[in-house]
């Protein structure tokens, strides 16, 4: 695979303090364009906090973030998404009472310029159907197209979330535990899906399943107690005694 050496996303010295509690301390992250990068670490290491800072749902107390050479530290979350840095959430983020088709169309509406028209019938949205159905088929949800998202099984909801995210055709995806709470079969399916969509994109994902990480990711960053413990390929990182200790330590808890 062609890997571009320039970082698409660069976080330097980002720190998050909540009333004196330092959740994330002086983290430097550099994500290379076109790679699948994993952020791993024991519970409470601050992975989701890092995600929230990168997508601006939290503003770092200190430090700066650059995306495609542009400083995004002061931007709002919606602006970051508009620049092509789109995230998913740990708890599956769908619009529960809208159908699968509507879920994907919501994402397509903004780029198509069909999100502010209040004087037209929503029938005009049918012109997005073709594109939406293509995305739905890409994640194997064609049989569920007209079902409300709330009625989907858990694994399928995650697939829908990915289809919705892909609808924005983002340059970079941040996936927060895409396999959390999934059965074996679903994990295989979502892994395949992530590999497929990674073509021409950059992916940063938080994941607990180390088997998935070793299988899927080009590079791994280990976070523990809010600080970076190790960074490198899976083999290098997994051989690191400090990483082993951090993981063993939590297993004994």
């Amino acid at each position: 695979m062609m890997v571009n050496a320039t970082p698409i996303l660069n976080a330097s010295g980002i720190t998050m303090e909540f009333r004196g509690f330092v959740a994330v301390n002086n983290v430097n992250l550099s994500i290379r364009e076109g790679t699948i990068h994993a952020l791993i670490g024991p519970n409470g290491a601050g992975k989701t906090t890092v995600f929230n800072m990168l997508t601006k749902f939290l503003t770092p107390t200190r430090g700066s973030i650059e995306f495609r050479g542009r400083d995004i530290t002061g931007l709002k979350p919606a602006e970051v998404a508009r620049l092509g840095l789109v995230r998913s959430f740990q708890i599956s983020a769908v619009f529960p009472h809208l159908t699968v088709l509507d879920n994907v169309r919501i994402a397509l509406q903004r780029p198509a310029g069909l999100s502010t028209q209040f004087w037209r019938s929503s029938n005009v949205l049918s012109r997005l159907d073709e594109q939406a159905i293509e995305l739905i088929e890409a994640v194997n949800l064609a049989a569920y197209t007209h079902l409300p998202a709330v009625e989907l099984p858990y694994g399928r909801k995650r697939a829908l979330e990915i289809a919705t995210t892909l609808a924005l055709d983002p340059a970079m995806l941040l996936l927060d535990e895409p396999m959390a709470g999934m059965g074996h079969e679903d994990i295989g399916r979502i892994s395949d899906l992530i590999r497929r969509i990674s073509k021409g994109r950059t992916i940063l994902m938080v994941e607990h399943n180390l088997h998935v990480v070793s299988d899927l990711c080009d590079r791994v960053t280990v976070l523990a107690r809010g600080e970076i413990l190790a960074d490198g390929s899976y083999d290098v990182v997994s051989a690191d005694p400090r990483v082993r200790e951090a993981y063993m330590g939590t297993e004994h808890d």
Binding site: R110, T116, F118, R120
Partner: protein, 326 residues
């Protein structure tokens, strides 16, 4: 499994659509014939408040924002329209449009300040700003304080429709109401309305898809305020006055009650709720029974027993009979 779930609504849909069309046609005929059976002023009062409740419902039912200051837009527009028509001698339609514009501008200011907060804080900010506006209305000279603006001439709409004729006035009011009702329906079922639904369903997700949700909420707030203004301006022409009653917080409370009673988030609910409350007030006005006590009791019963409102419960009943899960 999915096949079974999908086939049911598809099979039922034509049924429901014909039923909806039939009911709509019946309602229209009923509204056209009503002034020959019922006292027109009572009907016009119902229509004005029904439109006000529809405007309010656009915000609470489809965006999930509880405004406790909607009297500002209703009563504010009533003052603007009354002043323009009485003092400046404007055409009633132009006066009403001025009321709509004024309400939209007030909505922009109030919405801009309140939209950053959610839930009870949003409600409290709108209430506080509403109280401020009521105080301003008491103080500034053009509203004539406690007296209000009285004796607003109904005049001739567009110069040739004599609104002093009760029937003409009724049909104009009906047209305005239908326009407002259609506007709410259109907004709810538009691409914009789709995004509003998404924001109500999962705001964080909408943000992460790049939607500046504050702007969408503000947009809906201004539209709601403008439609409330349409109701208020029309009311000023119908009743020929604008007073402090229309801008005070009790009016904001009344519209909440009407919407809740009829069914939040249903299109027809606010109309039913408004018609019921106005009919009750009218009926009890001649008796010694205190209206507020009875309305209080109804409110409590509504919240305890049928939380979805009359129309909401009815729809739920139909849905359950169709065998669809909640």
């Amino acid at each position: 499994m999915s096949v079974e779930v999908q086939s049911q609504p598809i099979a039922r849909q034509p049924d429901l659509r014909t039923l909806t069309r039939l009911l709509t046609a019946l309602a229209l005929v009923g509204l056209l014939a009503a002034p020959f059976v019922v006292y027109p002023v009572l009907l016009m009062s119902m229509l004005c408040f029904a439109l006000f409740a529809c405007a309010f419902n656009l915000l609470i039912g489809y965006v999930g924002l509880l405004s406790f200051g909607h009297a500002t837009f209703f009563g504010g527009a009533a003052y603007f329209t009354a002043h323009a028509v009485k003092v400046w001698g404007w055409d009633p339609l132009a006066g009403i449009l001025l009321g709509v514009l004024g309400a939209a501008i007030l909505g922009l200011v109030v919405g801009f300040l309140a939209i950053r907060r959610q839930g009870i804080y949003f409600a409290m900010i709108t209430l506080a700003l509403g109280q401020m506006f009521a105080f301003i209305c008491l103080q500034v000279p053009f509203t004539h304080g406690e007296d209000g603006i009285q004796g607003v001439p109904r005049g001739h709409l567009l110069g040739f429709i004599d609104l002093n004729e009760p029937l003409s006035m009724y049909y104009v009011t009906l047209a305005i109401f239908l326009f407002g009702f259609f506007a709410v329906w259109r907004i709810v079922n538009s691409p914009f309305g789709n995004i509003l639904k998404a924001i109500r369903e999962n705001e964080r997700r909408a943000v992460s898809l790049g939607y500046r949700v504050d702007r969408y909420k503000l947009g809906a707030f201004v539209m709601s305020a403008a439609l409330a203004g349409l109701a208020g301006g029309t009311k000023a022409i119908v009743f020929q006055f604008a007073t402090l009653t229309d801008v005070q917080w009790q009016m904001s409370g009344e519209v909440i009650l009407m919407t809740l009673l009829g069914g939040i988030g249903t299109l027809v609910g606010p109309v039913v709720g408004a018609a019921f409350v106005i009919a009750l007030q009218n009926y009890l006005a001649s008796s010694d029974f205190p209206v507020t006590v009875l309305i209080g009791i109804i409110f409590v019963v509504c919240v305890l027993v049928f939380r979805r409102g009359v129309v909401g419960e009815l729809l739920e009943f139909v849905r359950r009979r169709e065998g669809r899960p909640d």
